[in-house]
Amino acid sequence: MALTVLRRLGQTLFVLVGISVLVFLVFFATPGADPTARIAGRNASPETMARVRVEYGFDRPLPVQYARMMEKLFVTRDLTSYVNRGQKVVPEILEAAPVTLSLVSGAAAIWVVLSVAMGVTAAALRGGWVDRGLMMLGLVGISIPVFWLGQVVNLVTQSRYHDSWLFSWVPGLGYVPLTEDPLGWFRALVLPWLTLAVLFVGIYSRVLRADLVAVQSEDFMRTARAKGLSPARVLLVHGLRTSMITFVSLFGLDFAQLVGGGALLTEVVFGLQGVGRLTYQALSNLDLPLIMATVMYSAVFVVIANAVVDMLYLILDPRVRDGR
């Protein structure tokens, strides 16, 4: 077990290094693009050019350039933006990360609880009108574009009905740090959470229901019923517990991609300065250092999430534990 964990950590590190090399090569070592000129700015004096070239090692071989870049990203953390001169990119990301993390964690909690409740209820009442109703609802959730939903939510809660008793508690758009004002944090995020969660509630409840229905025909479910267990116990203790294995892998990937910047639209609609927005800015300005930093950040999250999913697998599935 310890060995498995160690091996997994090694793989994680290897993947991260690989991604950083790739991103570096794509953005900094593409022929024709002179990063020195871009960093130094238009009409920079030859002295400035020379200073930048030495600082970033652009006059040295590629491996040295790469090492410099990584040093500036992870050790000295003084990589600066091309666009907003003097703006250090690493602190910028560290500021955006808690926003995104708050948004995605809250939404994830909501979508896990709701989709498990819906999926299990639908599977238990399979074929009835409750089942059909819930799955229809899920489909609606999947089909609603998150950007549009966010706009409608804002329209209703921020302007149209903001003064009614129902929505007067809703604060203006933007983020409130949890450490400063927990209640304010909650108020500011609860609508973005729900908005972001809708799509995933739809997907997860449908996937879980399908899984639970498929698992019904397994031999071990028949054994559980033959033991005289109650239908609820058969469904939850034997069916749901087994279906959780696929559920968790799906969850890990979605969570990671959202934390890594995939919640862009929700962040934009609700005026949250998160990682998704930052990445979007970096790409639209072709701000290479910021791109480098945000991509590395996403990669770290996706890879860590994968590692966590694998660990959860080990806990959830004894067959994986034995390497079978």
């Binding site: 019923r225 033991k227 005289g228 267990l229 034995d322």
Partner: protein, 336 residues
């Protein structure tokens, strides 16, 4: 007549929806099972053995299924029993073991935990007491080092150990009736013999009656007091195993017996097997269902033959009533 019987099944018919139509999968099956008796139900794959046993267990949950007839267990009617009452019975008074012990345990729990679960579903006892009983049961089933095995996951055990654990689980609440649906089919021959030994011992030590379902006449010969031969969802023949093996009255029984490989002596170059295959339930002919494969088929077989007494057996064939019963078999080497 069914008074002192543990289980009396009469005219059990199970109809399942196939392609939008209710098709009788099992038709008018009747038999009885006494206390401490082992009854074998034999038949080719698809003859309705599993459906029959699941119907007795109340485990047919196909939407639109219709079960008619009567299943009396200890004098109590089970057909139409409310789910809650059935659940109290399942696992406690009637227990079942399945063909493939690999897939019959939930993969994510230890076998010990799954046996504890069954005990605790039916009795108010502590976790520790349940586990003590689990370990004792596993030991009784001939599992070496039962304490350790109880803590193992299903995939960590061999097929034989898994099936022993499955039997331990079935017996955990001292059921009066054990239904074993092809318990040895997925196991290799030596393990198969051990499991059959175990089933025979059960009757002695636990006082359980056993309904042993198999497609293997050899297993029946070794284990069962009485035998029921099922063909395409209908009873072809039933009676004491010895008599049925010595003088089968139904051509299908005779053909099944001919296809058992002999235990001793020269093996024939090719075992005679029955040509053709049984009809699907939806295409069962109106007359004798075995007609299309029977070497004795004639005009009278076009109407479905009723079950009639013939010697010690009951048989659904026109030959005995017409005065031409099948001759006794020439292989008297049966141990039943």
């Amino acid at each position: 007549m069914d008074g002192d019987m543990l289980l009396a099944v009469r005219d059990l018919t199970v109809a399942l929806p196939v392609g939008g139509r209710l098709v009788p999968i099992v038709e008018s099956v009747s038999f009885t099972l006494g206390t401490r008796e082992i009854l074998g139900i034999v038949g080719e794959s698809g003859s309705g053995k599993s459906v029959t046993s699941l119907a007795i267990m109340g485990l047919i949950d196909v939407p639109g299924a219709r079960i008619t007839g009567s299943v009396r267990f200890r004098g109590r009617e089970l057909v139409g029993l409310p789910p809650r009452a059935y659940r109290a019975l399942r696992g406690r008074e009637i227990a079942m073991i399945f063909q493939d012990p690999m897939t019959a345990f939930t993969p994510v729990y230890t076998v010990g935990r799954q046996i504890d679960e069954q005990i605790r579903a039916h009795q108010k006892i502590s976790r520790a007491d349940a586990r003590a009983r689990t370990v004792r049961l596993l030991g009784d089933m001939g599992v070496p080092d039962p304490e350790r095995v109880a803590g193992r996951y299903p995939h960590q055990l061999s097929g034989g150990l898994r099936q022993r654990a499955m039997i331990a689980m079935a017996l955990s609440c001292n059921p009066a009736l054990l239904i074993a649906d092809e318990p040895t089919t997925a196991l290799d021959v030596t393990v198969q013999a051990q499991i059959l030994d175990l089933l025979r011992v059960l009757r002695r030590d636990y006082g359980s009656s056993v309904l042993l379902i198999t497609h293997d006449m050899g297993v029946v010969a070794e284990t069962c007091d009485r035998t029921l031969v099922l063909y395409s969802g209908l009873v072809a023949e039933r009676g004491p195993t010895g008599a049925l093996f010595a003088q089968p009255a139904h051509p299908y029984t005779a053909a099944l017996l001919d296809s058992i490989p002999p235990l001793h002596g020269l093996r024939p170059a090719r075992l005679p097997s029955i040509p053709g295959s049984p009809p699907a339930p939806a295409e069962r002919p109106a007359g004798c269902p075995f007609g299309p494969r029977c070497t004795h088929v004639h005009a009278a077989c076009a109407t479905r033959p009723p079950l009639v007494a013939c010697g010690e057996q009951h048989v659904a064939c026109v030959l005995p009533t017409e005065g031409h019963p099948l001759p006794p078999r020439r292989v008297p080497e049966m141990s039943a």
